[in-house]
């Protein structure tokens, strides 16, 4: 721990110029990306190593998914970038601003929607967003105009003068998004923004996020709704056990999954799973059969074979969406079907992250 006098002297973290601009930055990816992280590690005081040397690049303008199971290190990584958590080692830059040397400038670029509700429940939504703008140096008059704009866009304008504690769960989430947008950040970090939000509001939030991304805001999204990540994001990183185990373009990653699992509801009960040559079958219960089908194979062929065995299918659905299938396989250290074993990253041995330039959009 730093001595107190040195900690006091660190108030400005090397930013004394009074103003900073990006125009003088060198055109290196590490400097120019929206987010660049190298060798980031975090060991908590209880000995838990939450991050074990994370490298990550997020391009400007990207809509980026950061996925991982609970306790993987997502929130710690976001916490370090936003200075809520002290890092143990490594470096991070936000639009070229080093968080060690230009922390104020780096934080001015970031808007954060945290996982937990963290506004003053006794203040009104209007007060909360106007004050937040003030913390980023937005004059009060401009802040009031933006408050109207964002509270209206997020359907909170009617609630602006009520006590925030009275808002519903979905409204509280939207209020945190409005608050994060008040200084019109260049990088918006959303840590599970739609948790507990009903599907209608979730979809309207998706439209809203797509719109602000289209206007140039880089977005990093963490979510447990993999459909959300698949729908919204162009690039993806999967973190597990404090390491990035996959980094790819969404299309490219999904393209690597060569099998889909279908769940078939059967009219008659079965005692054992039928043997279908070339397919993997599992009996979930006596009326439900799972079949793995590779991309090259026809689904018609399965029906034909089942019909030949006298098995009638009432309905069929996908077991999980494609991203969920890949996610589970990566996190559990299993191979993605259709890929060589050497290409598959396991939780214990991180894959070399691909740079955005290599990623097919």
């Amino acid at each position: 721990m730093r001595p107190l006098w040195r900690a006091f002297a660190a108030s400005n973290r090397g930013v004394d110029s009074g103003s900073l601009a990006l125009s003088g930055a060198t055109p290196d990816a590490f400097v120019m990306n929206a987010l660049s992280v190298r060798g980031l590690t975090k060991t908590y005081s209880n000995g838990v190593q939450a991050l074990k040397g994370v490298d990550l690049e997020v391009e400007r303008g990207d809509f980026f998914a950061l996925l991982g199971p609970n306790g993987a290190g997502k929130t710690t990584l976001i916490g370090i970038i936003t200075s809520l958590v002290n890092k143990t080692a490594g470096e991070a830059r936000v639009f070229g601003h080093d968080i060690d040397r230009e922390l104020e400038a780096a934080k001015a670029c970031i808007g954060i929607v945290p996982q937990e509700i963290n506004f003053n429940m006794f203040e009104t939504p209007h007060t909360i967003v106007v004050n937040q703008a003030g913390f980023y140096g937005i004059p009060r008059q401009v802040a009031r105009e933006r408050a109207e704009k964002y509270l209206k866009q997020l359907q909170l304008w009617d609630k602006r003068n009520g006590i925030s504690r009275g808002l519903s769960g979905g409204m509280k989430r939207r209020l945190m998004i409005a608050r994060a947008l008040m200084h019109e950040p260049r990088l918006l970090i959303l840590d599970e923004p739609t948790a507990g939000v009903d599907i209608e509001i979730r979809r309207s939030m998706w439209d809203f996020l797509r719109e602000i991304n289209a206007r140039g805001t880089t977005i990093i999204l963490t979510t447990h709704y993999l459909e959300e990540a698949e729908t919204l994001c162009r690039n993806i990183a999967i973190i597990n056990g404090g390491r990035i185990i996959e980094r790819d373009g969404m299309r490219s990653l999904l393209g690597r999954l060569h099998v889909a699992t279908f769940v078939l509801n059967l009219r008659e009960s079965l005692g054992v799973a039928p043997h279908l040559e070339g397919y993997v079958t599992r009996l979930v219960d006596d009326h439900t059969l799972e079949v793995e089908v590779s991309k090259e194979e026809s689904i018609n062929e399965i029906f034909a074979r089942l019909s030949a065995l006298g098995i009638e299918v009432l309905s069929m659905r996908n077991k999980v969406n494609r991203l969920e299938e890949i996610f589970m396989r990566l996190v559990e250290g299993r191979a993605i079907p259709g890929e060589g074993a050497g290409e598959v990253a396991s939780a214990g041995a991180p894959a070399t992250p691909r740079t955005p330039a290599e990623v097919a959009r």
Partner: protein, 269 residues
Amino acid sequence: MNSVAQAAAPPIRLNVVRWIGFKTIVIREYGRIIRIWGQTIVPSVVTAVLYFAIFGSLIGRRVGVMGGFDYKQFIAPGLIMMSVITNSYGNVVASFFGAKFGKHVEELLVSPLPNWVIVAGYATGGVVRGVLVGLAVTVVSLVFTHLHVHHLALIFTALVLTSLTFALAGFLNALFAKNFDQVNWIPAFVLTPLTYFGGVFYSVSLLPDWAQNLSYVNPILYMVNAFRFGFLGVSDVDVGVAFALMASAAIVLFAVAVGLMNRGTGIRE
């Protein structure tokens, strides 16, 4: 990537951000003080009325003259200062610990405001409440007694320095506090005894030598006497020393608070 994403960023004027951020913290603190005025302003007014009614009017009549002045006149500056100390401290410790407890301190921690601006903002909020309550208690005092003004600038300086010192002390308490009990320990077991033994109700010249010597290590004695000197022109301590002590305490406490914030004590993992 679209053209907006590639465009050069506008320059970030850090001094403007800091100034507006500081003002916003103070405005928010002022808004909190006014919003819950029944908790922030009224109790001190009621307490002052009780002190003046019981100690000033009933018991004070038997005490007679203290330090060359009517007893009510003598205790008035002390009672004002007692309210200022309690409220400056209480405002910051309650507000900042409340922000930690409710996690909305993160609104500030993720913002580009440096820690010294955050500390300065909260401390100024404490001063605002101290001054507001001080004014309210002064009005109460005027109902019960005549207040002579010896030196207005000294009164104001002592008021601001004292409330600043205790606002910063309250900030440190809030940084270290892990629960509401720890928020109340210092006011109950340190601040109140020091205030009562700080010459609010008596002149230390009435005490035996050992008690006088003990009183001189109590910082509140200097604050109360510097403030009383501004009103009455009398003091048990050297007023120059009192002001030097207050200014030094404020500077040291500010530096410690900023250092602890930079280190992440009580606010960051």
